[in-house]
């Protein structure tokens, strides 16, 4: 169930250049149903920055009632978030949206998880849940440069992990697709989150394979009421837009026109 929770910040640190890891505790954690869901956060109590910021959930610790979010402090709102300290209370709406279907990959099967930049975080909880049920996960993570690479060790602890950087300062020089071309591993499912051009390239390269993509769009309400974050579907019979926030953000490959 969606709730508006006053969550307490338990820790925050910059883990890569402008990339922050924030841990929050509150009742909302108990409502999260799948990896890839997101929360909508008010960055201040005032209306100076009125719109909430949608941020995906990177990991859940149900026993501690704690969730981790990873975000890039780039705009004014996320810079506000980066200033929050331990003990601060944040107004968080969530959990929102439909996440990645873990059940689509069976025990003993292999899944490839492809993330780009700030699209990487939700894949971490996904990988945790997939590996816990006996799925072999291969991670392909793309970043601009070495200084913004994060969670490499965490992903490595779960499975084979490849890093690609656009400037070649770490791992394979190039994009996630550069790595994908080199891997001849058979797999049953792929899951991906990242910028639109990356999703497009991934979907094209894995055409015919079972896959799930998580999309991003500027949002208003985050619950499906304002019709801001729509994307076009590919089905010619039903040309209606679908909403990233409440119909997605995860859609099966081929559903969204990209």
């Amino acid at each position: 169930m969606i709730m508006q929770d006053e969550m307490v910040l338990t820790s925050q640190q910059e883990i890569a250049h402008h990339i922050y890891e924030m841990k929050l505790t509150g009742k909302l954690v108990g409502e999260i149903t799948s990896p890839g869901q997101f929360v909508h956060i008010r960055v201040s109590d005032t209306y100076d920055f009125p719109l909430r910021r949608p941020i995906s959930i990177a990991s859940i610790d149900e026993d501690a009632n704690e969730m981790t979010i990873l975000y890039r402090a780039e705009g004014n709102g996320t810079k506000q978030l980066a200033r929050k300290k331990e003990g601060d209370v944040l107004n968080v709406l969530g959990p929102l949206g439909n996440g990645f279907p873990v059940e689509e990959t069976k025990e003993g099967e292999t899944a490839i998880l492809i993330g780009g930049g700030i699209g990487v975080p939700p894949l971490y909880e996904l990988s945790k849940q997939l590996t816990a049920k006996g799925v072999t996960c291969i991670h392909i993570l793309g970043f601009q440069s070495a200084e913004v690479v994060f969670y490499e060790e965490q992903f490595k602890a779960l499975g084979e992990t490849y890093i690609a950087t656009v400037d070649g300062s770490k791992g394979t020089a190039g994009f996630v697709t550069t790595v994908m071309e080199k891997i001849n591993q058979d797999f049953s499912t792929y899951y991906s989150c990242g910028p639109m051009p990356m999703l497009k390239a991934v979907q094209a390269m894995y055409a015919g394979k079972k896959g799930f993509l998580s999309f991003e769009e500027r949002m208003g309400c985050g619950i499906g009421a304002c019709f801001a974050c729509v994307c076009e579907t590919t089905e010619e019979t039903d040309k209606s837009y679908i909403k990233v926030c409440s119909d997605g953000p995860v859609f099966p490959a081929g559903v969204v026109s990209i």
Binding site: M1, I2, Q4, R42, Y47, D48, F49, P50, L51, R52, G77, N91, L93, E217, R218, M219, G220, C221, G222, I223, G224, A225, C226, F227, A228, C229, V230, C231, K239, S240, Y241, S246
Partner: protein, 303 residues
Amino acid sequence: MNRLSVQLPGLQLKNPIMPASGCFGFGKEYGKLYNLSKLGAIMIKAATLETRLGNPTPRVAETSSGMLNAIGLQNPGLQGVMENELPWLEQFDVPIIANVAGTETADYVEVAKVISTAPNVHALELNISCPNVKEGGITFGTDPEIAKQLTAAVKEVSAVPVYVKLSPNVTDVSAIAKAVEEGGADGITMINTLLGMRLDEKTGKPVIANKTGGLSGPAVKPVAIKMVYEVSQVVDIPIIGMGGVTNVQDVIDFLSAGASAVAVGTANFVDPFVCPTIIDQLPEKLDELGVNHISELVGRSHR
């Protein structure tokens, strides 16, 4: 005695608070969060004759104490609203104000005629002020004579009272208000959004795909208050005021300016519980002001 009840043409409101059109969809999403019967009324998202897909994305952008939107009247069309949206809302004890939009007079008339027959639609809100569509919308709201004619045409076919939603993007809002009153409007809702633009810091290009958008949120409240203050003194029909309402004091301000009821828009996106919160806080606010009934506050800025 219900201290918050308000009676307006077609509307018996248990309190003067309602979500504004376009900021609440057709209620389904908020209905999961709280009981919609708590609301004074609901202004549902604009309905057009045919399904509209709306504008390309990005459709929203944040601004200082506000936001720009250019959704473009995306809606499932008259038939979809009649068959799927309005019947769902019947489970709640709340009057619906149906926002009617179109690109030409015939569209408005057809939508008004049909939607006004829905059992839970107690009033229409004639949208002559949407700034985000290429045809219709705001063009009907900027010329007094055209606004008057459209109001009269819709009044002729509507089974329920007609409120006209005014645009602030005019030189003389009072002239439009008087014209729609002459055209037979039963009430006025105001204000719609102010046209605006935000540029991307790096590229210098407009952030919103439609280039321009409608500005809403606390940033527009002073404009709305001034216009309600002005219009309420030149017309005899009631006003439902809106524009940047986020809390109970904003509601008091709109009532004081001359509105009889108040709609909450953008704030629903920030705090989905803002309407019930304000409703709960109103009685205490009346005590604070030494007022028995909310209607005593209406227009006190110019009495």
